[in-house]
């Protein structure tokens, strides 16, 4: 069964006003536990609205959002517990840091869940581990950290709540290549350790190719198509019409196929491409 599911969700901003804007139109989507689901789409395609549906920040005008088969909007009083189970990391979460020390900031979520101080301390350490924050940083003020470190603290604050569904809107935007790999690698480890369902919204096609198990493409408030990274990136024309691109490795693979070098469609990362070509070219 799907961990979290959208069934025919519709949502309009400012309904009945001249500025009414349909953000989601009959969107159905299902996210499996233990999988990383990527969501891509042009600016304004509905990604951020969709993300807010997943933990009940927005409720659909029609349609349902099911967590383990239960409609999260059926009982508004239960939404607080839904938000503990579905962790949402918004864009630029570092702007939301507020506490005196990194440790207290990460502990804010678990403390509000009413956990014991030992449990909280253990969760803070564990979350810091996933995001690559060292022990000495925990006692610093979050405002003395670099942008990349602040981002890690903000993500750790959500991981410390141990959400069963982890939703992130552009978690790696603005980070350097190594920082990006470390953050996304940490999310992968969180998924492997906890079996959580992870949903990542990103404009970075390379990251999607490397980390997502499946990708959903949104177009003008609707699901355009979905599939494994290889299936999605094989539909180049449609992606480009939607203001998206294929990853660099796929672009290079296209050029290789034009020149008669057989490269399978499954290859969407530079690492996989190098490994395949090394074999093909009998390099030693």
């Amino acid at each position: 069964m799907a961990k979290i599911e959208l069934q025919n969700v519709c949502y309009t901003y400012g309904p009945g006003t001249p500025y009414a804007k349909i953000a989601l139109k009959d969107v159905s989507l299902s996210v499996e536990a233990g999988k990383i689901t990527g969501i891509i789409g042009h600016t304004g395609s509905g990604k951020s609205t969709l993300v807010r549906m997943l933990n009940g920040l927005l409720a659909p005008d029609s349609g349902r959002v099911l967590l383990d088969g239960v409609d999260i909007n059926a009982d508004k009083k239960a939404l607080a517990s839904v938000r503990c189970r579905v962790g949402l990391v918004m864009q630029y979460p570092e702007y939301q840091l507020f506490d005196e020390t990194v440790e207290k900031d990460i502990a804010f979520g678990p403390r509000n869940m009413g956990l014991s101080s030992e449990d909280i301390a253990a969760r803070v350490r564990e979350a810091a581990g996933f995001t690559g924050l060292s022990e000495e940083i925990l006692s610093k003020s979050p405002f003395d950290l670099s942008g990349g470190q602040k981002r890690r603290v903000a993500i750790a604050g959500i991981l410390a709540m141990k959400p069963e569904v982890l939703v992130l809107d552009e978690p790696a935007a603005g980070l350097d290549p190594k920082g990006r790999r470390e953050i996304l690698g940490g999310l992968l480890r969180y998924r492997d350790t906890t079996g959580a369902a992870v949903v990542i919204v990103s404009h970075n096609m390379e990251d999607m190719a490397s980390y997502a198990d499946s990708i959903v493409v949104l177009r003008q408030a609707q699901t355009a198509f979905e599939g494994t990274p290889a299936e999605v990136f094989a539909r180049r024309g449609e992606l480009e019409e939607n203001g998206l691109r294929v990853p660099d490795a796929v672009r290079i693979a296209d050029k290789l196929r034009e020149r008669g070098v057989p490269v399978p469609e499954e290859i969407c990362t530079v690492e996989a491409e190098a490994a395949y070509l090394a074999e093909l070219l009998s390099l030693k």
Partner: protein, 295 residues
Amino acid sequence: MPSFTEPVPLIEARDLCYTYPDDDPSDDVPAVKNVSLKVYAGEHVALLGHNGSGKSTLAKLLSQILVPQSGDLLIDGKSCRDLGENELFDLRKNIGMVFQNPDNQLVATVVEEDIAFGPENLGIPSEEIRRRVDEALDAVGMREYARTSPHMLSGGQKQRIAVAGILAMMPRCIVFDEATAMLDPSGRDEVMETACRLNRERGITIINITHHMAEAVRADRVYVMHEGSMILSGTPREVFAHIATLRDVALEAPAETELLYSLNRLGGAFPLPVLDADLCADLIAQKYRETRKNG
């Protein structure tokens, strides 16, 4: 003694140092350490470096938002040291900046008013402002959105409006401080195309701070910063030849070079760097044909 044939750089940094003030001066780490560079009028320069490497601080020093604690900044060969506030104000007009988050740099409720904000504050007469706003909108291809509200625009369009707002002040140089980081791929292309066109057609000097190696490939010169110092500079070909160094400082090379570098580590012998997908594919295809012939 400068030779007579060498042009005077538009911007020259000489041993710039900057440390952010801190409550506890003992653990002050300089954000920029002895950085020297020359940017000539009409150049397109890319500045790379990991998060916290000092790129943005350097950009703020170059555009005189920050004042260096030591070293000197020269605009058209004229030192900024010992200048009064009024003279600095005039010098600042030479360089405009576009920042990362499009929502943080638009101030008005209508696009054309937003673009007029800069020239209004420079005390430009209103007919002249009208002309500049229209011209700036044309330059970024956004004329039809003159009366739109900025919040109705996409990220790429907002950044183009931010660029237009800078253009209306007629700077000679525009610094893009990770201006494409928030954008989707087509938005990124829009902003990069706009920057390259302004550089090509109007000779506006571009300094592009970025984490996207594909953008850096389009520059005339690439500079790489690490822990406040400038560690590499040269043409894209020269800089991306140092792929091991780039990896050491948390960066990477464009995908074409990364792929061939990986193949070389597995026993290949491809020439590096390669910054063009067609050339990359040609080299691999040639090797493939040789392998088939011999095997």
